[in-house]
Symmetry: C2
Subunit: 216 residues, 2 copies
């Protein structure tokens, strides 16, 4: 399994890359700047020297060449970034994890993108790809710390059953994470927006909270 992380040098992308590599997937961290990606890969590998993590760095086109691709850029550059990669991403499962958020005082607010969600905007920009949304509510610092004892549910939604299935299978490989099929890509609007509530709770309660759906 080879996974590419477009825009993978930020905390969110690094956390997913680390956890996937820990689970044995080959992971390419992509960046606008391939040297920056290589440097981040070096830092992650140096933090976990005993693990021999199968990570490498590349430009975003290099990440887009993988079998399955995660988009972890800031939300406001996600569409422009993937539009240039429409051809290499055609036919592939593309997992959107960005949230359109803005800080205001002691809270994070959810913005409403023109298509309702970042994931829906990516699907519109990549009509030949199978877009799923996932990984929204995870605290990045816990994802980057393999000793954190993280236990969280990951809500997955897509208009393509094959993309939901592939994303659920990907999440199932990751220790401490439980994937839940949350329906069509229409749900991404509410799933992404709820990230603002999770972060606001963390600010107010000085916590690294994780979402759990009890009773499923």
């Amino acid at each position: 399994m080879h996974v590419g992380i477009i825009g993978g040098t930020g905390p969110a992308g690094r956390g997913v890359a680390l956890r996937l590599a820990q689970a044995g997937a080959r992971v390419t961290i992509g960046s606008r700047d391939a040297e920056r990606a290589a440097s981040v890969v070096g830092e992650v590998q140096a933090r976990w020297p005993g693990l021999d993590l199968p990570l490498d760095g590349a430009d975003n086109a290099g990440a887009a060449a993988a079998e399955l691709v995660v988009v972890a850029t800031p939300w406001d550059s996600a569409v422009a970034t993937v539009r240039a990669l429409r051809e290499p991403l055609a036919g592939k499962v593309v997992v959107s994890m960005a949230n359109a958020l803005v800080k205001e005082g002691r809270e994070m607010l959810a913005l409403v993108p023109p298509r309702g969600s970042v994931a829906a905007a990516l699907q519109a920009a990549l009509p030949d790809s199978l877009v799923a949304a996932a990984f929204h509510h995870l605290p990045a610092s816990e994802m980057e710390n393999l000793e954190s004892g993280l236990e969280a549910d990951v809500l997955v939604c897509s208009d393509h059953p094959a993309a939901t299935a592939a994303t659920v299978a990907l999440v199932e490989r990751l220790r401490g994470l439980r994937p839940l099929d949350a329906g069509s890509l229409n749900q991404a609007a509410a799933i992404e927006a709820f990230t603002a509530v999770c972060i606001t709770l963390n600010i107010r309660h000085k916590a690294h909270s994780t979402l759990r759906m009890a009773g499923i």
Copy 2:
């Protein structure tokens, strides 16, 4: 403590009324039709005959006369209902629990009200009241069953610290529920919309799920 539930005869309102009465609060279930409210009170009391629940039924003006008022009407009649009660609700904490949702196939979708949330629309219609939003993600059938062993977090948000404090204190009285301050009324948009995700998960997974924020 006297709590009124405007539009309290539906499953959501009945569940909150029952749990509050179980906790010892005097509760007036309101309805457009006072006879309907009295009949629902009779049904609830008959289901739990040993409890001597301090419930009564009234029209919505009767419910609005309570110390603290919960609005549990369907979302599309909430604003019209409270607008007629602006005077009796002035100066009071008003808790909004409605969600703007629509069913589409095997999922529930969140609609975006003109003010972003039902709660924000209520605050705009009731400028002299202190509106909070709460009780959105609770499965009504579990709320109405005192033997369900319900354990859930209740996200509370408001622009008025006094309304947040009063609503948090109200939720703390209810067995199995943990209130969490989730910030300003701006958060109600994402909190209400996320109810669509919770219900969709329940449909897909044949469950009565509850929201838990681990790590707080």
